[in-house]
């Protein structure tokens, strides 16, 4: 069964010619959009041809379109500050790091103990109140405690006294019994390359000609080297800050730990705990694996 179908009449719009547009009739906004696309290289075919015809007809619009080519953002040199923390270690490196942590912590703890131990306290005493000079400190000026290398019972007679140098260390000797002599030698005296046997021998063997320990003037000793380093650090700290800066054991230990943190990206901390009057009373070490607090002696800097 056929249904009736409508056939469109052949009606014509009487004024359709008025609706036609030429490319030159584009508004500025429309032209800008086309020009932006043109500057991006996104126009092809007829669209490109039309735009070019507009630009040919109007030099002003050509310049306007050309200006879009200069609108390009150039990145600055900002760098991501958190990049370092985003890196990951391989499993092998992670395992190594885990095994190395206890070892390095032990080293750090040793540094703290050494610096805060008796030797560190003495070095602090040496540095206090001194002005920095270029002269190396002589051996006898270092009142560090010396190891006892020998205890020999000797008889002291008026005929042949033992002229042992009176040093601050030697004061302790006065308390000893008359019949016994405690012979202390500076640590540097144990350096065989610098000290002859005669420098330590006189008190042990009274028959030999006694030589004062002041006579020993080694060119470079461990103790001298230590002092020089402390003075240098103190001098540099003063030069940087513009103030008299006293280097103490805490500063050095803290520097070591900061260095390890920087190199390995760890988070170890060393803090100095002070009492109400501002005097340090303890040192606290903390890390992800180990934490401890070490109280300071009264004479420890």
């Amino acid at each position: 069964m056929d249904f009736p179908r409508l056939t469109p009449p052949d009606d014509r719009m009487p004024s359709d010619r008025r609706l036609y547009r030429r490319p030159e009739e584009l508004t500025d906004d429309q032209f800008d959009m086309l020009a932006a696309a043109w500057a991006e290289g996104a126009l092809t075919g007829e669209a490109l041809a039309e735009l070019e015809s507009v630009m040919t007809a109007s030099p002003g619009r050509r310049d306007r379109a050309g200006s879009f080519r200069n609108i390009r953002l150039v990145p600055d040199n900002e760098s991501w500050p958190g990049m370092r923390s985003a890196f990951r270690l391989s499993p092998a490196l992670t395992a190594f790091r885990r095994s190395a942590i206890p070892a390095l912590l032990a080293v750090a703890a040793m540094v703290v103990i050494i610096i805060y131990g008796p030797a560190g306290a003495k070095l602090k005493t040496i540095n206090a109140g001194r002005t920095v000079t270029g002269n190396a400190m002589t051996v006898a000026e270092i009142p560090a405690s010396a190891p006892i290398i020998a205890v020999k019972r000797i008889t002291v007679t008026p005929v042949q006294p033992v002229p042992v140098e009176q040093t601050p260390v030697a004061e302790a000797r006065e308390e000893a019994a008359e019949a016994s002599e405690v012979i202390r030698v500076k640590p540097l005296a144990l350096t065989y390359s610098h000290v002859s046997a005669s420098s330590v021998a006189p008190a042990v063997n009274p028959v030999m000609t006694p030589i004062s320990i002041r006579d020993i003037q080694p060119a470079r000793t461990l103790q001298e080297e230590k002092n020089w380093m402390f003075r240098s650090m103190s001098f540099l700290a003063g030069a940087v800050t513009g103030k008299e800066k006293e280097v103490n054991g805490y500063m050095i230990a803290n520097g070591c730990i900061t260095g390890i943190n920087n190199i390995l990206g760890w988070n170890m901390e060393l803090e100095q705990v002070s009492n109400k009057s501002g005097e340090p009373v303890a040192v606290t070490f903390s890390s992800s694996l180990l934490s401890f607090t070490k109280p300071l002696n009264k004479n420890t800097p």
Binding site: S67, L73, W80, M83, A86
Partner: protein, 161 residues
């Protein structure tokens, strides 16, 4: 992707993504957080992503994270909230690139992002569409409108006569 490739991705693309996010939201702390989150996410699925696709993945993840942040933060507003009289002041004598970046800050976030991806990274429209979740036609429109807005800014601030 191996751990080595992951670290390469940090080294090669970290700064690029950071710049893109920083220029989009103008907040260095937030930008840092977003990039950190992005790499954290990458690390969680490091074995599932091919190295060849990681750059687009990073940009896409960072962009989506940034959009989340922008939506939560009412302080970040587009050009439509600015008063023209204050918008176009004090630009005489400035470097063109600086002025362009200041003008960029006034654009809506999406426009800003697509222009940055286009100019900074040189992505094509399809790639930008994949990163931002827009169609290619939308990307083109945003870029062209963005360029017009930047040009208008330069003209109105007397940088261009």
């Amino acid at each position: 992707m191996t751990v080595k490739e992951y670290n390469n991705a940090v080294r090669e693309f970290g700064d690029h993504i950071y710049r893109f996010i920083l220029r989009s939201i103008k907040d260095s702390h937030r930008a840092d957080d977003i990039v950190q989150d992005t790499y954290e996410k990458l690390w969680r699925c490091v074995t599932e992503i091919k190295y060849g696709a990681v750059k687009a993945w990073l940009f896409s993840t960072a962009y989506n994270r940034m959009i989340d942040v922008i939506r939560k933060d009412s302080r970040l507003v587009g050009i439509e909230y600015y008063d023209d009289s204050t918008l176009y002041a004090e630009e005489n004598g400035s470097d063109l690139n600086e002025v362009l970046h200041r003008a960029l800050e006034r654009l809506p976030a999406v426009q800003r992002s697509v222009i940055l991806l286009r100019d900074y990274e040189g992505y094509n429209y399809r790639e930008i569409g994949e990163i931002t979740g827009l169609s290619e036609a939308q990307v083109k429109t945003y870029i062209f409108r963005g360029r017009v807005a930047l040009r208008n800014y330069l003209v109105k601030t007397s940088v261009w006569q």
